[in-house]
Symmetry: C2
Amino acid sequence: MNNGRSTAGRTRTPPVACRACDLNEICRLTGLIAFEGGRSRQSTGALRTVRSGATLFRAGAPAHALYAVRQGMIKTTRMTTDGDERVIAFHAPGEVLGLEAFSMGTYACDASALEPSICCEVPLPLLGEANSHVRELSMAVVRLLSQAAAPKHDLARGSARQRVTNFLVDLAGRLSKRGLDAKQLILSMSRQEIASLLDTRIETVSRTLQQLNREKVIHVRGTRVKLLDLGKATDETATPLEHPGMGQESAG
Amino acid sequence: MNNGRSTAGRTRTPPVACRACDLNEICRLTGLIAFEGGRSRQSTGALRTVRSGATLFRAGAPAHALYAVRQGMIKTTRMTTDGDERVIAFHAPGEVLGLEAFSMGTYACDASALEPSICCEVPLPLLGEANSHVRELSMAVVRLLSQAAAPKHDLARGSARQRVTNFLVDLAGRLSKRGLDAKQLILSMSRQEIASLLDTRIETVSRTLQQLNREKVIHVRGTRVKLLDLGKATDETATPLEHPGMGQESAG
DNA sequence: CGCTGAGTTGACAAGATTCAAGGGCCGTGG
DNA sequence: CCACGGCCCTTGAATCTTGTCAACTCAGCG
């Protein structure tokens, strides 16, 4: 199940501040988090820890909750007809999983942890509850969903080089958006998982990373990637659709 | 602007019944359509006709409405940094455009007609209105968005052959879902537009279609494609995520 | 009746996959 | 503590697919 790689004892993807989470507004409106003088306080047992390689939920299982990644990294996958898994996405802290629950009633993907992770669980019934915040809550849910429904920048497009650079830029941008370090990436996913996401082969991912390394566009050693000058590597493709830029705010 | 191809005077994508439209529930709840003994009646000027090649809305423009394709075919595109357009999707009758409006306030793509088309326009303010149906309406919007937020089956994956067959199967399935003829496709989009959607080249699309034609998996002549036995062409990839199957109901 | 643009086809080059082998890191067991 | 084995990653070479360039066909239109 787990790839057994050496995330143990290493630097892990750090937790995100509630205020930088996509579920923040909704959590506040449902009362899942309370505020005390500007700082948020987590209430009740809405947290769920997921060991590395363990499953958060499975495709087809009845969906009773939304999840937000608080710490760590979660991958969503689906089985192909050949029986091997296809990576749909990697979810960084602050990002939400399971939005299909509202319409499908079941999850569309398997979700499992790439490293020891913590997720916030928001029961769906809470989001339909009639309380004083109904109106605001409903609008917050609509906004969240609308954001997810917007056409995404597809990483699996263009040459192998573009895919890999897009992948790195995308990941860095998403981390940066949450106030996490985006220059010193720790790739908690395997090359195989990256290849699956980018619809290419593990050898191609490896070669491309090494080539970028030789060109001093990045510095890569195992799971550690330092972004040096990805600007000159971003040849073409389309302008990203969801992440206006990388580099927004620092943590806290 | 228009590709000037010969959709004129030919068979066009026929209109979809309101009851088979993704916006149906929402239209009813907003009162945009009324029911008289089981059949729906369109009220007021919510219809918008779009000439072939004409634009429904543009990326970046303030978004004041959702659109549903009633008749015809709409493509959504985005400009690449090189200045040429990338096709994001083709929208068949019954499908909704502009769902990003709730969160972004502006449209994320250009939308234009591949053939003479008619769209239903649902002003956003209507969806936030306080009326007796608030609760049901809000939930309908959430369901619609959740559906769109579900991970999509990406057509631009796998070999050229898989991409083309996936494209055809996907299109056929979506038409069938609306009760339209799914065995006799009329491709109102150009080969170039297909190539753009599938992230490949026009020559590859052409060659692949001709090869499928030689293998009698399809019969293609210009814009007309007859699906003969795509089952044996669908080698692998993942199982579709959004279109459970093709063949649901015939038009009411 | 030739013009024009979309579509098709062929030849070749570039790029990605495949197959195979070697290196490095880590956990296990001696 | 160190050797061993497994797994992931890297690298090389051959092959296959796709992109590129160019010519040609076909249909619509003036």
